[in-house]
């Protein structure tokens, strides 16, 4: 049926067990958690999805010797830029101009393709549409935004532009259908304009779009706070309540948590300091409830006249209309979508503040100046199924690989080769732990044939050459599995399964075997059906890595040299990982 299964491994970032809920929940000191190693991490629990990462997603702090995931790094912004025109946006613009590109970079509201500026009069020229920017200006206006993929054009929603530049600003003044409006900036200027002084332009409630209502309310509240009458009414009485600002709204807007302050005469008097908005100029908008026109439109246009969920989601907040109350569903209420800006971020360790990732600041490049990926510090684990002849247990020998990705037979032992590759320049000792049976509804049996072993350092050829002959001899003998018992990782020369023995060893890698007996997926009548991926045999495994390294702290500036082995310290790192081995065959 589905494509062949590819085995995988995920790592749980150790930061995920720092949760307050666990520590405080219940609040009763008498409840105690069943302690024990059998309380294994359950990769099927919904929460595990939030803490598991592929190795490539993880970073590493060299100073704390700890894994850092996207949830436990501190981020700083290097650059803000538009992904479409690659223009770098100064950070000061973000607060005022918002989070979208205002340089004529628009996405099609129907298919998210790029929109180009075309003349309404002439047929859109495909060559112009393909042009990377609007340098190839169409000859005469009016202009429209046109999608070169689905051929949507802004004239479909009644929007066209007089000029071919400054589209972003022009669009802010246009409602769908073509009516013009005042932007917040224009409103503000008019308020200040002496020719309008004392007599602000009356607001028609038709004009009271979201942005205007918000601006009028803001001006109204600010005016109320500044009103000398209003201030008089409260000031003397309010001093004793300890509010920080004399003009604070909080003096008047008594949002209490309960309590009986309303019955306090003084408090009641204070309430009088501010009144309600009374007309559209002050932000009061009486609702128009008649939606029969919209219903008639829905009746005549049907599903085809409405936007899909994805199209509605893609829209930027619509500030130019009064509350739409469902009319945003219609295709002709869609607006061109200015591109969201993006950021380049550097990442720091939140504990020691050292930088663990820093991109080049130039927008065009994807390179990093610093990037401490976890894959350079912790062993990678790759999974491959083994086909073994003979029965279970010791004495079984290999007979080539199993069919990769084929379903696992329930209740029939299967063998998997786990290869641990050591990326660091020190020999590491790896200790594995796995629950005897997998957690969840279907308990498969798991046996790690060799749970403790050493993996040699990631020496390069140069280092290899520097070693004296005797040492090299010893190394090679060890690799071949002759007479070495260190770390319990004796080798299995004939590729035979033997408890406590590794399967194979290379320069900086070791393979071990895990035996699993997949559970049967048979369901009793009445059981809920299999959830998505519940047929995947996943085993949780704790990994502890120990190694010796030079003392930290005294090596600042010193070139790392491994010959100086006097001041060495033990280090260890422990975490859970999850191995996805295969799908169990369903009967």
């Amino acid at each position: 049926m589905a494509t062949a299964f590819t085995p995988y491994s995920y790592i749980q970032c150790p930061c995920s067990d720092i949760t307050l809920t666990d520590r405080r929940s219940g609040g009763s000191p008498t409840t105690s958690e069943p302690d024990g190693d059998d309380h294994a991490f359950d990769p099927r629990a919904p929460r595990s999805s939030f803490s598991l990462y592929p190795l490539e997603y993880l970073m590493y702090c060299e100073d704390c010797h700890q894994i850092r995931c996207p949830r436990c790094v501190a981020e700083e912004i290097v650059t803000y830029y538009c992904p479409n025109c690659l223009f770098e946006v100064p950070s000061s613009n973000l607060k005022s101009e918002g989070n979208r590109c205002n340089r004529s970079c628009f996405q099609c509201p129907v298919c998210i393709g790029p929109l180009a500026i075309t003349s309404v009069e002439t047929k859109p020229d495909p060559n112009l549409l393909a042009a990377p920017d609007n340098s190839a200006t169409p000859l005469a206006g009016p202009y429209a935004l046109t999608c070169s993929y689905c051929l949507w054009t802004s004239t479909e929603v009644g929007i066209q532009f007089d000029k071919h530049n400054g589209i972003h600003a022009q669009l802010a003044k246009l409602r769908n259908g073509g009516t013009t409006r005042l932007t917040a900036k224009e409103r503000k200027e008019r308020r200040k304009d002496p020719s309008y002084k004392g007599q602000p332009p009356p607001t028609d409630s038709q004009d009271l779009d979201h942005e205007a209502q918000f601006a009028n309310l803001k001006a109204f509240y600010q005016g109320q706070l500044a009103d000398p009458n209003a201030a008089d009414a409260g000031l003397a009485l309010l001093g004793d309540l300890g509010f920080s600002s004399p003009t604070s709204l909080s003096r008047i807007m008594s949002i209490y948590t309960g309590g009986g302050l309303l019955h306090d005469k003084k408090a009641k008097a204070r309430l009088g300091a501010m009144r309600e908005a009374l007309d559209p100029d002050e932000g009061l908008l009486v609702a128009s409830l008649d939606e029969s026109a919209a219903i008639a439109k829905l009746r005549s246009e049907g599903l085809d006249g409405t936007a899909s969920a994805a199209q509605r989601l893609g829209q930027a907040p619509n500030l130019v209309e009064p509350p739409l109350h469902g009319r945003e569903r219609f295709l002709d209420s869609l607006r061109p979508v200015p591109h969201l800006l993006r950021t380049k971020r550097s990442k720091r360790c939140p504990v020691c503040r050292h930088i663990i990732s820093k991109p080049e600041s130039k927008v065009q490049t994807t390179r990093f100046r610093i990037r401490l990926v976890a894959g350079s510090y912790i062993p990678s684990i790759s999974v491959r199924q083994l086909a073994l002849s003979g029965g279970t247990g010791t004495g079984t020998s290999a007979s080539g690989a199993a069919v990769p990705g084929a379903p696992l037979e329930p209740l029939k032992p299967a063998y998997f080769l786990l290869t641990f590759k050591n990326p660091i320049f020190e020999t590491i000792k790896v200790t594995l732990g796995a629950p005897v049976t997998t957690p969840g509804r279907f308990a498969s049996r798991v046996t790690v044939i060799c749970p403790e072993f050493e993996v040699d350092a990631n020496t390069d050829v140069w280092d290899e050459a520097l070693k004296d002959n005797a040492e090299r001899d010893r190394e090679q003998r060890r690799r071949r599995g002759e007479s070495i018992s260190a770390g319990g990782g004796g080798i299995n020369s004939a590729n035979q399964l033997e408890v406590g023995k590794i399967w194979e060893r290379g320069r900086n890698w070791v393979s071990i075997v895990v035996e699993v007996v997949p559970a049967s997926l048979a369901l009793a009548p009445g059981d809920p059906p299999l959830r998505e991926d519940e047929d995947v045999l996943e085993i949780p495994m704790s990994v502890r890595v120990e190694w010796e390294a030079e003392m930290a702290g005294d090596e600042v500036g010193a070139a790392p040299s491994r010959s100086n082995s006097e001041a060495r310290e033990k280090r260890e790192l422990a975490y859970w990982c999850v191995l996805g081995l295969g799908r169990i065959r369903q009967r």
């Binding site: 930061c15 809920t21 918000f214 969920a309 469902g326």
Partner: protein
């Protein structure tokens, strides 16, 4: 052996394998480690705070809206869905040919659950998972829409006042630990909506996802609240049932067996795009005649709905009028008498009417002229007007007499028993008034004027309104017309998020402000009951320097309305 010098000196202690444990599931108490200072492991020096920006987060059951204080609208909105429950690097949703296995995900009554942040019945909720979902949604919003770094920023949360404390607590735990805001202030969404409408009092009708909640706000205080389980979830269920009824027979059991035959995603989408609400039908024949004026062809319009989540892709064709059925069943249930409903399942017009009825005369007169419709279902075309018209009719028929016999209700509920002919057709925005209601009020200029609102009723405590008194005295605004009272009127708010943005920007205060350090130490258990708190300490401005001095000095703090467990 595991406690090497290096390990013990690092702030994040390395753990032995034995101490690696699974995250505890909800309800279990955590390991009894001593109170290790979490601020030292993930905290940042306070000099790195971004003090100028306050982040406003509005929580809904199906979405989060996030933006900066002072902005007219949120910068971004994150909807909850199954794709957010996947592991990092799992891109199957984007792979061609992948289809979400909604059937197995819906097993055991969890159809649609993956599209919700939480359910109010906390017994069935994994609180840790709620915290994880909030964290991931916020992180996505911060990266994609807010474009901010991870310096700690103060936050204001806008929440439904009915949110259960354990859910709030789980969200606070997660965000305080992961984002380190120095403080989180809580503001109830009905209050924010009132601020966003320019009024001090309002009747907020929140047609939400979990439920519909009617909150009466008087002088910026929540004075009463009533709820009904009729909400968006029920509407989508009814939409599913409607579509299932029209599917070809015999292929997949009967529609009544409670099994879902279509995916939540598809039904939710159709509910949002096509479901509408019929106007109130008056008792008599007049309405019918009137409707015949409409084009007969338009009336028989049908809608083609392609469905992909059924056993095999198919296209239904059903009458447009049928698409108003889910709304009728979910919100009005007109086939039952009004007395047959439990309190928590009242049809919406009755819910609104009873909410007004329970208010004292003065409060009611003010609130009824400041009705704010909000919530996802306020986008159902025609629903706001229908509720408004139904309430108008109830007011005309019954006035504000709280004593109402069952026989009378039955009489009113059954149109055939009513003797008075319905009034002639009137302009569409006018609540249809029956002439028999003359004893209660009258209709002028297309709005209903409640006569009893002017003189104080005998059974209600008359309450003087200081603002109005001041206005009457000519306090600065004598030229303005007096506030509208005693007539049913709906007004628009810029929304809860934008209202909170205004309130925060103008440095008003929130219902409750929680200091991070205090929360990390005590959690919800540390909150005093609201009425035990000295308001002088509790109430703090959101302005610079005015934050949470109370808690910092060890004073009491509260969870506001959410703390009343």
């Amino acid at each position: 052996m595991s406690s090497t010098p290096a390990a013990s000196s690092t702030p994040l202690p390395h753990r032995s394998v034995a101490s690696i444990r699974a995250p505890s599931v909800a309800g279990q108490s955590g390991p009894t480690t001593p109170l290790r200072s979490i601020s030292s492991s993930f905290g940042s020096p306070s000099s790195l705070r971004a003090d100028d920006e306050i982040i406003i987060v509005e929580f809904g059951t199906r979405k989060l809206q996030v933006g900066f204080s002072g902005d007219p609208a949120p910068r971004g909105c994150i909807w909850f869905g199954p794709d957010q429950l996947r592991r990092a690097g799992d891109f199957r949703d984007w792979q061609p040919g992948y289809r979400h296995d909604w059937r197995s995900a819906a097993a055991g009554g969890s159809w649609g659950r993956d599209y919700e942040l939480w359910r109010y019945d906390v017994r069935s909720v994994d609180l840790g998972l709620v915290g994880d979902k909030v964290e991931r949604a916020l992180r996505d919003a911060f990266t994609k829409y807010m474009l901010i770094d991870s310096r700690p920023r103060r936050m204001v949360w806008v929440l439904p006042s009915s949110l259960p404390v354990p859910l709030l607590s789980a969200a606070l735990d997660s965000v305080f630990t992961r984002f380190q805001p120095p403080t989180i202030s809580l503001l109830s969404s009905p209050l924010a909506l009132a601020v966003g409408a320019g009024v001090r009092s309002a009747l907020v009708v929140d047609l939400g996802w979990n439920e519909t909640v009617v909150t009466s706000i008087y002088e910026y205080r929540e004075v009463a609240t009533r709820r009904s389980i009729r909400g968006g979830r029920m509407l989508v269920e009814q939409t599913h049932n409607l579509l299932a009824k029209h599917l070809p027979q015999g292929l997949e059991g009967d529609a009544e067996s409670q099994e879902h035959v279509l995916s939540f995603e598809e039904c939710s989408d159709i509910a949002q795009r096509l479901v509408w609400c019929r106007p109130r039908s008056t008792a008599g024949q007049e309405e019918r005649e009137g409707q015949e004026e409409e084009d007969a062809a338009a009336r028989s319009a049908t809608v083609r709905i392609p469905l992909t989540s059924w056993l095999s892709p198919t296209t239904l064709e059903l009458p447009f009028d049928d698409l108003s059925e889910p709304c009728e069943t979910a919100f009005f249930d007109a086939q039952y008498t009004l007395t047959s409903f439990d309190d928590d399942e009242l049809p919406l017009h009755l819910l609104v009417y009873r909410s007004l009825l329970q208010l004292s005369l003065d409060v009611r007169a003010t609130c009824m002229s400041r009705i704010i419709f909000t919530g996802g279902c306020s986008a159902v075309l025609g629903l706001r007007k229908r509720i408004f018209d139904e309430v108008s009719r109830l007011v005309q028929q019954r006035g504000w007499d709280p004593v109402r016999g069952k026989a009378v209700e039955q009489l009113l509920a059954n149109p055939k028993l009513q003797r008075a002919p319905a009034a002639a057709r009137r302009p569409s925005n006018t609540p249809a008034a029956a002439p028999r209601a003359q004893d209660v009020g009258e209709e002028r200029d297309g709005v209903w004027h409640d006569r009893s609102a002017t003189p104080a009723g005998p059974y209600m405590e008359p309450e003087t309104d200081p603002i109005e008194e001041q206005l009457k005295r000519g306090g600065g605004h004598s030229d303005q017309q007096p506030p509208v009272r005693g007539e049913l009127r709906a007004i628009e708010s810029v929304g809860a998020w934008s209202g909170a943005s205004l309130a925060t920007h103008l440095k008003t205060m929130a219902v409750a402000t929680i200091d991070r350090e205090v929360w990390l130490l005590h959690g919800a258990a540390g909150a005093s009951k609201p009425n035990e708190v000295d308001h002088k300490v509790q109430r703090q401005s959101l302005g610079p320097g005015g934050l949470m001095r109370g808690s910092a000095s060890g004073g009491a703090w509260t969870l506001g309305v959410w703390g009343a467990v």
